[in-house]
Assembly symmetry: none
Homo-oligomer: 415 residues x 2
Amino acid sequence: MKGSAEIICVGSELLLGDIVNTNAQFLAQELAQLGISHYYQTVVGDNPLRIQRAVAIACERSRLLLFTGGLGPTPDDLTHETLADFFDAPLAERPAVIADIQQKYERRGRTMAASNRKQALLPQGADVLPNPAGSAPGIIWEPRPGLVLMTFPGVPKEMHVMWQTTAVPYLQDEGWAADPIYSRTLKFWGIGESDLAEQVNHLFNRDNPTVAPYASQGTVKLRISARAASEAAAIALIEPVADEILKLAPGPYYGSDDDTLASVVGDRLRQTGQTLAVAESCTGGGLGHMLTAVAGSSAYFMGGIISYDNAVKIGLLGVSPSVLDTLGAVSAPVAEQMATGVRARLGTDWGVGITGVAGPGGGTAEKPVGLVYIGIAGPEGQVSSQAYRFGNLRGRDWIRHLSCCSALDLLRRSL
Amino acid sequence: MKGSAEIICVGSELLLGDIVNTNAQFLAQELAQLGISHYYQTVVGDNPLRIQRAVAIACERSRLLLFTGGLGPTPDDLTHETLADFFDAPLAERPAVIADIQQKYERRGRTMAASNRKQALLPQGADVLPNPAGSAPGIIWEPRPGLVLMTFPGVPKEMHVMWQTTAVPYLQDEGWAADPIYSRTLKFWGIGESDLAEQVNHLFNRDNPTVAPYASQGTVKLRISARAASEAAAIALIEPVADEILKLAPGPYYGSDDDTLASVVGDRLRQTGQTLAVAESCTGGGLGHMLTAVAGSSAYFMGGIISYDNAVKIGLLGVSPSVLDTLGAVSAPVAEQMATGVRARLGTDWGVGITGVAGPGGGTAEKPVGLVYIGIAGPEGQVSSQAYRFGNLRGRDWIRHLSCCSALDLLRRSL
């Protein structure tokens, strides 16, 4: 290990609170994975003097400075200019970068703006850190012996791909990374973080591998991380712990690492050669959108009907008007009829129906905001449904998100 | 204004990337609202020496230091201890704080743990910043003339209520707050950040109001911010600049502040009493999901058909099998037939059809990944379509996102 890293995020929008600093979190996680120590993060605005002051401080206490932001084409994008100034290096226009930006614009049928030329002005002596996902490249630069700077755009997607494709191999090759950390993340749906944590509490004080709980978007995750010289050695450490956890919470576990509820459902459908269609009311297409986020989903997902209006439920899905009248659109029979209706209409093995009160209006004492019914119709003609009460604490988007994920989870358990 | 603020977030979980720093964003927004300048944010781990180093730096450049984190009962919660040490003040146990914590535990039928006593040890001379939502209080402390420290727990809910109930009144009473900043954000679709920036370049060097560009999720934003004693005075500063910008880029402008493409489309449909249905292939329901993210969208959005499979395009939307055979599913006629088909099927005024190659597979030289056709069918029977080439730089999710937004934008311009 050569020394510790520091993350410096440049952008007045961070100081104004316009955006939350997910870039710092991403880089922090990645540094931990690589075993690179990191003790400070700094946020500074688009101001050359203050950027220089932050750099001066960081040089004194850290050896690897990771910058995000300030690489865009507008006049307030100042990171490269300011770094060149601080380290007394002239800026030089890189013809290869200009050509690359031009090509990217042309591929989209557009012309490069004159202001984009600025993005090709990089400090002399710095290597280009290519940006395959956008116009602004970053740099990898050692302006003083033992001090390495890397710059990334503030756009998370661009930053992520630049990090993975260029920065990580560089850091590994140049000896910045310690024994790497390998990890496996187990993912659970339908169990609370504290409930899961209580069941596996005795594993949290382990040293190698460590076990740490996270929750995001309703999925609860347990990350098992092992530090080891090889991946095989790490797996040997991780496996027994993973097995023990899965014995404790077998039902809610749905997958690992890059698995999503939609990809797991898709894998099972593909294995059995079965097909799926969806009927969505309150989610308005969100379930179909999640399912089709998986590349290759056309192998098992035929499509669906967004029956936002009751007339569509009746006309296209064959939901009974009298059931709609007597029980209302948000009811178990309607969810089931939507599921059977879309299954029949699209000729699939499986059908899913979602109907609920997403709010903020439309709730009653009997059917409050957050009440959602999900129906599942299967290949043998079997139909079932389940009621969910998501409450109204976190709003419409959250209720819709939980509805889609719960439908996938219910389907997963039915397949 | 007495001076500028600095946010110092203490917690090793931030350095490990286990959580995203929403506390910094909250405080940043609040400071902007109060008109208190704020130029730096620092994140540091639960380490006394590094906390002290961060404080030493902050004292030199800022006058109001806002700390979050490190107030809990566990041994790694060190903020108050470290600050007392740095400013050479003894820690003193506050009996009133102990009594308050005891009472809170009793109300929940629990007994205060011995470790909670630590939370009542505060630097001598500091005022208690009460925590109505949890056990750990913060402090308001002027350890040196003109230098004020405030500490908050890391738990966002506790921090927020402490900020609102005690910190904000204190800052206003003590003259820290300046004229507040009011801002209006103009939102644009279908124009690049650099292209828009070039058109309004002469406005970027203004002082009050300021104009700053941002881009997120394909939307380009210009934020006009005015510092003024009243909202009316701020509006008087903002309006002429907004008018000038809108004269320069009238087409791509779609709304301000909380407007979304979907809400703007919805507003227009509601005004004219017209209805809408969607037919989605590569977006799989994403457009419907965006439209129904708007509360009250049932007034104009009837639903749609997710025609992922060609059989659904033919069977439910009436797309011509021979056109599918000869031109393929990703073609202008299919997009148009999907739009007219769903309009007819659901009996709406407007219909939208989306078909494209979202990738990563399925692209050809003639129809590359990122090629998307959007069809619009209108109330007079008029039909049109547009081809988009989004390229393959940023992947499947991004192509699908751009497709949905472009469909909304095309519809907005058609309404």
